[in-house]
Symmetry: C2
Subunit: 144 residues, 2 copies
């Protein structure tokens, strides 16, 4: 497959909502910024809404963050979008007649869980506000 940009796109959407609180924010307008199509934006927003990170109502183009930007972490967004899908994947298709493969993979799971936990712990330390701060610094820098 192509590799996933869903987390990046979701953060983009959240920032875009934060940065445009008053305007009419249709999925089409957001899609223009992400350079994708409104359907994809609405799919991601649907997941963000189910995770209670944004609020939005059918027919009304005014999505809003449901929490402060400082209260939304990258882990919240990751879990909203990816659910339990991990960063690393076992090969679950090894030869079952050769016990080595199966048991190595099962042993690996335990360590992959640790790696996943370390990554998610770091995600939990990063908020949408941090990303927005980085964004604003960049904007300032460009104006110099």
């Amino acid at each position: 497959m192509r590799f996933s940009t869903r987390l990046s796109d979701s953060v983009h959407i959240l920032c875009f909502i934060y940065l445009n609180p008053d305007e009419n924010l249709s999925s089409e307008r957001i899609a223009e910024s992400v350079r994708t199509n409104p359907g994809y934006v609405r799919q991601l927003m649907s997941l963000l809404r189910k995770a209670e990170l944004i609020s939005s109502t059918k027919g009304h183009a005014k999505p809003m963050l449901a929490k402060e930007a400082g209260e939304i972490t990258l882990r919240d967004v990751y879990r909203a979008i990816e659910g339990d899908k991990p960063l690393l994947h076992l090969d679950t298709h090894t030869n079952p007649e050769c016990g080595v493969g199966v048991n190595i993979q099962l042993a690996l799971q335990e360590y992959y869980d640790r790696i996943q936990a370390a990554a998610e712990a770091e995600m939990a330390r990063i908020t949408l506000q941090d990303v927005l701060d980085g964004y604003h610094e960049r904007i300032k820098g460009n104006k110099r």
Copy 2:
């Protein structure tokens, strides 16, 4: 794309080499255990050899670990196989006319780097020996 099992398969290969030090270990024999084809096994082994994790010679079916199992970390394997490819990917295809997208993505990079570093730091704490220990415990457990 389908998601990558290259790291898992590479660990499998390394363990298989460790566990079968004397036998004739052709890529075909390893491929049977991974349930894949010899060409794929040789591709991964080529990367492992370039990273000096194994040694092998053309025409001679006797690959060997180039280091102690306790000296090979998951980060070594990950970097051998994936190089600089990260776990999380920016969307580098946002609308350049809308500065928001571009700058949000650039701001994100800094935080993705932190997440990648956290994940790799945990990988660096896990050795092939750890995985082998987990494997042996599992084998023992099954015999009970």
